[in-house]
């Protein structure tokens, strides 16, 4: 059985101009111990799909799916209270802007302990020890000393490490990372990606990487879903996708990479759209 299985996911937003379809029937499956990358440009619905899974979309969104199961648990019929038992514990998520995802008014140690207080039976000193342990696991130097630091006292890379620590605090089975390194420098990006993959392998977690960066896909993924305007364009193993892309849109994306430039001009997606007709 797959860890997460979603069939025919549709998301529509109510807008002043009528319903807007953000996602038009896409299937997702993730197995334990697998890294799935969802890649696409802005507006492709890659984040919306995972926010829908997490139940984090606003009320203006209408979510329908033929099937939406996490370990056999139907996510569609969960009450908000039941959902909170799963979200943050068995499924957790990290976001693009690490500094914006943390509350500036509380120390990172306090914010970490909240997760543990909510989902585990740990108390007082036990919680503190566990937080230090987690900080150590994600490579924060001087973990005990950092407990009382506020987010603004840490760099972007350090904040993202805190977010990762928070996300893995309850040993989730599935971690969703939404553009986790987009706001970071490339040297820090490398460290964070290495850390995510290392944690994923040690714990045998499922990991969903949402990204627009083909480099990140190439460095981390086992399997890739390419999305464009709310539809799935292609799904393939990472090597097959890069070696022999099938869909015209995937081909276009790959050839728009500056490192693949052959002539003076970069081919753009619209060049392919005219020729390939997607």
């Amino acid at each position: 059985m797959s860890l997460l299985e979603i069939r025919n996911l549709r998301v529509e937003f109510d807008t002043a101009k009528g319903p807007f379809r953000a996602l038009a029937g896409v299937d997702y499956t993730v197995d334990a111990g697998e890294v799935l990358a969802i890649v696409g440009e802005s507006g492709s619905g890659k984040s919306v799909a995972m926010l829908a899974t997490m139940g984090l979309l606003p009320d203006s969104a209408t979510i329908t799916a033929d099937k939406m199961e996490f370990e056999g648990l139907d996510l569609r019929t969960l009450s908000a209270k039941e959902r909170r038992k799963v979200i943050g514990k068995d499924i957790s998520m990290i976001f693009q802007e690490p500094i914006a995802s943390l509350n500036p008014c509380f120390t990172v140690g306090f914010q970490m302990s909240e997760t543990l207080k909510t989902h585990t039976g740990l108390k007082g000193k036990q919680i503190k020890d566990r937080v230090v342990e987690l900080f150590e696991a994600v490579g924060i130097p001087d973990p005990a000393g950092r407990l009382n630091a506020f987010p603004h006292q840490m760099s972007g890379g350090q904040c993202q490490r805190v977010m990762i620590a928070m996300a893995i605090a309850c040993s989730p089975k599935l971690l969703i990372a939404d553009e986790p390194t987009t706001a970071l420098d490339v040297t820090i990006q490398k460290q964070i990606l290495d850390l995510l993959v290392q944690i994923q392998q040690e714990r045998g977690m499922g990991l969903i990487m949402i990204t627009h960066d083909m480099g990140v896909v190439a460095e981390t993924a086992d399997r890739v879903i390419v999305q464009y305007q709310g539809r799935k364009m292609e799904e393939a193993d990472v090597l097959a996708l890069f070696e022999n892309p099938q869909n015209p849109y995937t081909k276009a994306l790959l050839s728009a990479l500056p490192e693949n430039a052959t002539g003076d001009r970069l081919p753009t997606v619209s060049d392919f759209a005219q020729a390939g007709g997607f």
């Binding site: 440009e41 802005s42 972007g156 420098d185 490339v186 040297t187 820090i188 990006q189 490398k190 990606l193 392998q201 627009h212 960066d213 083909m214 480099g215 990140v216 896909v217 190439a218 460095e219 990472v238 090597l239 890069f242 070696e243 276009a252 994306l253 790959l254 728009a256 990479l257 500056p258 490192e259 693949n260 430039a261 003076d264 001009r265 970069l266 081919p267 753009t268 997606v269 619209s270």
Partner: protein, 276 residues
């Protein structure tokens, strides 16, 4: 052509004073430490480095937003030292800048036509009809239809806004264009369009670019010369092929090693390492 140096920077420093508090003494931070460089007319210099390395401070000095603390900057034969001599209209015409975030760099209450005409309004005595004609020509040049003249920034996508920002920058027919991460906020396919546009404009107007970026694959594509900065100092400076084929400094090597590789060989290697 080879000796036609348009931008000459010699040993430039920039120091910021950090204010002390009640219990803290004030201190100084040197953001740029002794940078020297030459850029030939019509070529592209890429400046690479991580956040805090001083690359944007350098851009601010080149575009006369900030004055250098010491050292000399010469643009198209004109010495620039705004703390001593101020800025003349002549100096302003030489250099323009395009910023990273096209959502933040356009005034939301200003129509696109006015965005483009403003540099002319401030720096020349051109009559309104002529300004309008020039703005319309410029829209066409950056690939936008004339009916966009009367629209507001929120009606445009990120890529279109970056086209507008570029159009605004070249309204004054500058010699030197400083591009501060012009494509890092854009989608991959839009990035390709903007890079193509920049290449076309460079050829057409014989523009010189100082291209600030942290994305090495973009740099490799667009640059003639590459400068790598680290904590305010230049650690590597040479032609693109020199820097990419034979990096000398440890930091440059780290940077190359950290850049994600999207080629099939690298993926095979990674998958093999994982299976083992």
């Amino acid at each position: 052509m080879a000796d036609d140096i348009i931008l000459k920077v010699r040993d430039v420093y920039r120091t910021y004073d950090i204010k002390g508090g009640l219990f803290k003494k004030g201190s100084q931070l040197t953001a740029v430490k002794g940078v020297s460089l030459d850029v030939e007319r019509g070529s592209t210099l890429a400046v690479v480095g991580e956040s805090g390395c001083g690359k944007s401070t350098l851009a601010r000095m080149l575009t006369m937003i900030d004055a250098q603390t010491s050292g000399s900057i010469e643009i198209d034969g004109l010495p620039i030292d705004i703390s001593k001599t101020g800025i003349s209209k002549e100096m302003r015409q030489k250099v323009q800048i395009v910023f990273q975030n096209p959502y933040g760099s356009l005034n939301p209450r200003q129509k696109i036509g006015h965005v483009l005409e403003e540099p002319l309004l401030l720096n020349t005595d051109m009559p309104a009809a002529e300004r309008r004609d020039l703005a319309l020509q410029m829209l066409e040049k950056v690939g936008l239809p004339p009916e966009h003249y009367g629209r507001y920034p929120h009606m445009f996508s990120g890529g279109q806004r970056q086209r507008i920002a570029i159009a605004r920058a070249i309204m004054m027919k500058p010699k030197l264009l400083v591009l501060d991460e012009p494509v890092s906020a854009l989608d991959l396919s839009v990035q390709a369009q903007i890079l193509n546009l920049l290449a076309d404009l460079q050829e057409e107007m014989n523009l010189t670019y100082v291209f600030i970026s942290h994305d090495l694959s973009v740099v490799r594509y667009i640059a003639d010369k590459v400068m790598v900065m680290y904590f305010g100092e230049v650690v590597e400076y040479g032609t693109r092929d020199e820097v990419f084929n034979d990096p000398q400094h440890d930091y440059t090597k780290t940077l190359f090693a950290a850049t994600p590789r999207a080629d099939v060989e690298s993926i095979k290697k990674r998958l093999a390492a994982k299976a083992a």
